[in-house]
């Protein structure tokens, strides 16, 4: 009797389940997205709030942005961040392309160890990489006060180290679909190595080069922990400046500076995603 009752109950549950389960799943998805985005959206909205008390909406204003751009230290920090990110992008692209070609084209002893080593900067906790750079530059006696932009070199070296593995991964994934027969055909028709690179490799890799470059740019622009340890007191980047402001208090200026950084980041990431998507679509047509 007891058993019959239980199985009836079970049947009832499984009968209503499809209608019950789906809404709950979708609610969980919605709640998670809300959890992820509410703080960020609130932060952006309140950068336009005409009140220092960051909690009650008092009307729209751009004064914190104006204030920000007349704050020399903030502007300098922002410029530093951009310069670092640009040079890091170029360096990471060069190193990343070379690494991708190396791993794609050649078999050599201890290759898997080499592959593992490239991923170390990505796996090891950021703080360990940060202090390794701190100790390293201190040990070789890197001159403390160089003129701009040479004083940014330390940070650029550090950023390139953890950015180029990402570039290498993106490029290598694209190299797999490179048609080597095209290259052979071009060579048979008298193309030299330079022509092959310019007319076959470059067009094929272009979307991945841009995407990889944008990833490196974003990673460099966003980095806080490694920069925090690598940079001396004389070089300030935007995240470092925001950090010192955050330690102080929650103010609309921080919201404004953060919003600028968020917008730059999202623009470059969306471009990267869009380009990847385009290249994937094209790849499926070929």
């Amino acid at each position: 009797m007891e058993k019959v009752k239980l199985s009836l109950f079970g049947e009832f549950i499984s009968a209503i389940k499809p209608s019950l389960r789906n809404p709950w799943l979708h609610i969980s998805l919605l709640v998670t997205l809300l959890f992820l985005y509410t703080p960020i959206i609130v932060l952006i909205i309140f950068s336009f709030n005409d009140s220092r008390r960051n909690i009650v909406w008092k009307g729209f204003t751009l004064k914190y942005y104006k204030k920000m751009f007349s704050n020399e230290i903030l502007v300098e920090a922002f410029l530093n961040s951009i310069v670092i990110a640009l040079i890091t992008t170029i360096l990471s692209l060069m190193l990343g392309v070379l690494t991708a070609i190396l791993l794609w084209r050649f078999q050599f002893p201890l290759k898997s160890l080499y592959q593992g080593m490239i991923m170390i900067p990505v796996i090891v906790p950021e703080i360990c990489i940060g202090i390794a750079f701190l100790v390293f530059f201190n040990w070789i006696g890197w001159p403390p006060d160089l003129i701009w932009p040479l004083n940014l070199a330390k940070i650029i070296f550090a950023h390139s180290l953890f950015c180029f593995p990402f570039v290498a991964i993106v490029i290598r994934a694209k190299l797999v679909s490179l048609n080597r027969e095209c290259e052979e055909a071009a060579k048979d028709l008298g193309a030299n190595a330079w022509h092959v690179y310019r007319d076959i490799w470059f067009p094929h890799l272009k979307p991945s080069l841009i995407a990889g470059g944008l990833l490196a740019f974003t990673l460099s622009l966003d980095d806080f922990v490694i920069t925090f340890f690598t940079s001396g007191p004389e070089t300030i980047t935007l995240p470092i400046k925001i950090y010192s402001m955050v330690r102080f208090s929650v103010t609309p200026e921080v919201n404004a500076a953060s919003t600028v950084l968020i917008v730059v980041t999202i623009l470059s990431v969306c471009t990267a995603i869009f380009l990847q998507k385009e290249s994937l679509k094209k790849g499926s047509f070929e």
């Binding site: 959890f35 992820l36 960020i40 180029f164 966003d222 999202i266």
Partner: protein, 293 residues
Amino acid sequence: MLSGRFRARNENSRKVFLVTFLPPTIWLILFLLAPVLIIVVYSFSQKVGLINIEVNWVMDNYWRAADPLYLKIFAKSFYIAGITTFLCFIISFPVALAITKVRQNWKLIILVLLMLPFWINLLIRTYALIAVLRTRGFLNSGFEWIAVHLGLRFEPVQFLYNDTAIIIGLVYIHLPFMILPIYAGLEGFDETLKQAAKDLGSSSMQVYRHIVFPVIRPSVFAGCMLVFIPALGSYLTPELLGGTDGQLIANVIERQFKHANDWPFGAALSMVLIYLTCGVITVWLLVAKRKKS
């Protein structure tokens, strides 16, 4: 003729090999191996006086790291990273399942929405969380509004500056790392298997335990690693959200370098953290391999 051409190509390929091999390798030796090597040397050194460091190959720093005080901090770091991973899994599973059921054109948008926060600055996301959770923040204001309307007395809740805040912050930051791999695992799942099991009389619970979970286990493991490893070495979140006693291992390391000025001890602590990270990864790889076979 043919062998001549072959040799030329061989020489050419050696040149290409050197051109592609040397720059990244030199870069890695200069800026990865050399710094880590110096950290290793420092960890066996001793501080002499205020700023001098003497390399005398002693184990003192490692013995000091084994002090109960620091062991407790290591244990706490593991505990918090573990709880974070567990919570991320509990939240991610239904979310990932929900994404598989969303219509195709919405799927891409949701995936991009889940990926975007990963690229937004860690510091800014933590700061955004502070603005929501602080005593005069939005969550407390919301509670206050409800309490006032219900005619209750309201005391602001202290969300920040304790271990719960660290866990909330870490879950907030690492959630996408768990959702995306689990989703990837579920997406390729053969729905007919589920149907077959149900037709043969399995309950929903049994279907998930015996059919779905074994298939997506590698993705779950991958997600767990992607959350656990960065959570274990996290510096910024405990620094900003934790209380005065809320130090995790990364904060103690930072203190040795920026405040206590005991570099050899800090170097030893960070070597221990690197070993622990590698240990966790090795265990994971071994378990993953065993499960596969």
